[in-house]
């Protein structure tokens, strides 16, 4: 009954989930079992690229949940992504052990370089995987909770909320750039060796990470569907459309926004944690406001307020970016800006809206044919 509720009247979502599941099955087979000289072989480079896109899609999904359904535009969601990434990065740094350049069994290379003689307290515990995973969830959650509590309680909404989230991620970027923070300064965390005992560069580990990202995306999609199809989903939509009215219906609007914001931040954190081992580096650049704005463009391009649209948007824009930057690496911001303007003007419902418009058009012409028939 629950699956029925999650998937009926979600045709687009079923398509996207189907394609995702198929990719998760086919890509590992084509990478590991098909010989390299076969035209069907999928290179490890492509696997990693797809894995990265899956993490972006998860991040886009997190943003669509709060922007598309609750109308909360966060221009700082990249911050939660980066924090999740840093938590994972810290675990990976501790896994290097004495294999670093300076061979210190405890301190990561950059700390040795800074002449630190002991591990800062906030690095303790990150040698344990479960603790690092707990932090992947807790750090974004706590930041989102405190920040959201202050903002929603003061009834900061709309563009003001967008601006302060932007300020939040910018402030974090500046902080993480500082060497004294103990997160590797502008070089960030890199040179990872292995994760859970598996070499991070091995093909099978890459496939494992790819699968983990794909499965996580599917689970997160279903969880988001659960929320938006529940009564809570209806409350959230009403908050978006008429906040005061919802309050007078007896709902404590702030706590709804807060829980949704925290949940979305956790998803973003998980996306970051899956992203870092695949790209092999996390640095303060991930906090850059531009990243968060790009994220908004993905969701807008795909179609906000549909969930699967966010996934479509993340894949198509990033695929476009990969192609484009291989020709003109410097000029990516121009097509990105153009895309945003075009989507706003021509496709207010995004790519997903385009599909359904075609479909409706087909249906109408079918109806017309039927009327003509007799």
């Amino acid at each position: 009954m629950l699956t029925q509720r999650l998937l009926t009247s979600d045709k687009g979502g079923m398509w996207v989930l189907g394609i995702l599941a198929l990719t998760c099955i086919l890509v590992p087979i084509l990478n590991l079992a098909v010989p390299e000289n076969s035209p069907l072989h999928v290179s490890t480079f492509t696997v990693t690229l797809l894995g990265k896109f899956l993490c972006y899609a998860l991040l886009a999904l997190a943003l669509d949940l709060i922007w598309g359904y609750a109308g909360i535009l966060s221009l700082g969601h990249g911050a939660f992504f980066a924090l999740g990434g840093y938590a994972m990065g810290m675990y990976l740094m501790r896994q290097i052990g004495d294999r670093g350049k300076y061979g210190d069994p405890l301190l990561p290379d950059f700390m040795v370089f800074l002449n630190w003689d002991s591990l800062p307290w906030y690095w303790l515990g990150f040698d344990m995987f479960w603790f690092a995973m707990l932090m992947v969830i807790m750090v974004p959650a706590i930041l989102a909770w405190v920040f959201g509590w202050l903002a929603f309680r003061s009834r900061v909404t709309g563009v003001y909320f967008a601006i302060i989230t932007q300020a939040l991620t910018y402030a974090l970027m500046l902080a993480f750039f500082r060497n004294e923070m103990g997160f590797g300064g502008n070089n960030g965390l890199t040179d990872f060796k292995d994760i859970l005992g598996f070499s991070i560069t091995a093909d099978s580990t890459r496939i494992g990470l790819f699968l983990a990202s794909g499965i996580m995306l599917i689970i997160a999609y279903l969880a988001c569907r659960y929320i938006v199809t529940s009564r809570m989903g209806r409350v959230i939509v009403s908050i978006r459309d008429a906040e005061t009215r919802t309050r007078f219906c007896g709902y404590q609007v702030e706590s709804y926004k807060l829980w949704l914001f925290v949940f979305s931040a956790v998803l973003a954190g998980i996306a970051g944690a899956l992203y870092v081992p695949q790209v092999g580096i996390i640095n303060p650049g991930e906090f850059s406001p531009l990243n968060s704005i790009e994220l908004v463009v993905w969701v807008a391009t795909g179609g906000r307020g549909t969930l699967y649209g966010a996934i479509v948007g993340a894949f198509s824009v990033n695929y476009g970016k990969t192609i484009f930057t291989s020709f003109y690496p410097e000029a990516w911001l121009f097509p990105l800006g153009l895309l945003f303007v075009l989507v706003t003007l021509v496709l207010p419902k995004g790519l997903v809206g385009l599909f359904s418009r075609f479909k409706r058009h087909d249906k109408r012409s079918d109806d017309a044919k039927q009327e003509d028939a007799p």
């Binding site: 929320i227 529940s230 009564r231 809570m232 209806r234 409350v235 939509v237 009403s238 459309d241 008429a242 005061t244 009215r245 919802t246 309050r247 007078f248 219906c249 007896g250 709902y251 404590q252 609007v253 706590s255 709804y256 829980w259």
Partner: protein, 274 residues
């Protein structure tokens, strides 16, 4: 007339309200359900409410009229907790001091408010609008995991019948006519089984037929609920009101039947000048 005729029994102090549905326990043993006593509200020196004293009986239908700026909307804001008074007191029944409660608590507790502009949730269906307004535990975790109970479904059907929208259940609220939206909004208030209904200009912009149906709806609600209607349309007020209160410059100018009020020289002066 002595404004303190209904004055509350001061020996009972305000009780802290624990039960979210405290409306069912409202003590109306002295008659009135709502006591507004010596309430003052000023905005930047402008006195929106000036020693306002108003008592609403349990189950009565009261119309409030008054020229622009008389304080009608501010009065509603004060009752529903949107604006806190500078001084004075607002009691719900004998014992519940509304000043200590927030908007959503007051709403859960049994005072429903209908805004002037119809504000239904246009993206949702008529049914979902009523579902949203259902009296229930409205905390996040409950709403996330619970489905409607049979009794709540019955209540929705009952309200759909009362407001005459049974045939529109699955229609999106955005597609309803102006009048139907107003009724749906009244229906949403009814879902919470409120003791008091505040209705702001219900017939503004309605067709003649819609106005008539609204009059029937509101008079049928009186008795089961206390209904306070703020309205400019005098013909409409005459058609539904037993008792009318005229506000002027933030306080009560006159109170009585429509005929009494209309022949009151003070009211004539305020409405017609000289």
């Amino acid at each position: 007339m002595n404004p303190f005729k209904h004055a509350r029994n001061w020996s009972t102090r305000a009780l802290p309200v624990k039960d979210p549905n405290f409306g069912h326990a409202v003590d109306t043993s002295h008659g009135p359900i709502l006591y507004i006593e010596d309430v003052n509200v000023s905005f930047d020196g402008f006195k929106a409410l000036n020693n306002l004293n108003l008592f609403i009986d349990d189950g009565e239908l009261r119309c409030i009229i008054g020229p622009n700026g008389a304080g009608k909307t501010t009065m509603m804001d004060v009752i529903t907790g949107k604006t806190k008074p500078d001084s004075g007191s607002i009691f719900f029944g004998q014992q519940i001091n509304l000043q200590h409660l927030s908007e959503h608590q007051i709403s859960r507790g049994g005072i429903g408010r209908k805004f002037q502009k119809p504000t239904v949730f246009e993206a949702l269906s008529v049914y979902e609008n009523l579902e949203l307004a259902t009296a229930d535990d409205k905390r996040v975790w409950h709403i996330l995991s619970h489905q409607l109970t049979g009794a709540q479904r019955d209540k929705i059907d009952e309200v759909l019948y009362t407001i005459g929208l049974s045939t529109q259940v699955h229609n999106s609220a955005g597609n309803l006519s102006h009048g139907q939206k107003q009724w749906l909004e009244i229906g949403m208030l009814l879902m919470q089984s409120p003791r008091v209904l505040l209705v702001d200009e219900p017939v503004a912009g309605m067709t003649g037929e819609e106005t008539e149906r609204t009059a029937e709806l509101l008079t049928s609600l009186a008795g089961k609920h206390s209904v306070i209607v703020v309205e400019h349309d005098m013909a409409f007020v005459r058609s539904i009101a037993k008792k009318v209160t005229v506000l002027h410059q933030g306080s009560v100018l006159a109170e009585g039947t429509m005929d009494q009020v209309q022949s009151n020289p003070k009211v004539i002066e305020v409405y017609l000048g000289e």
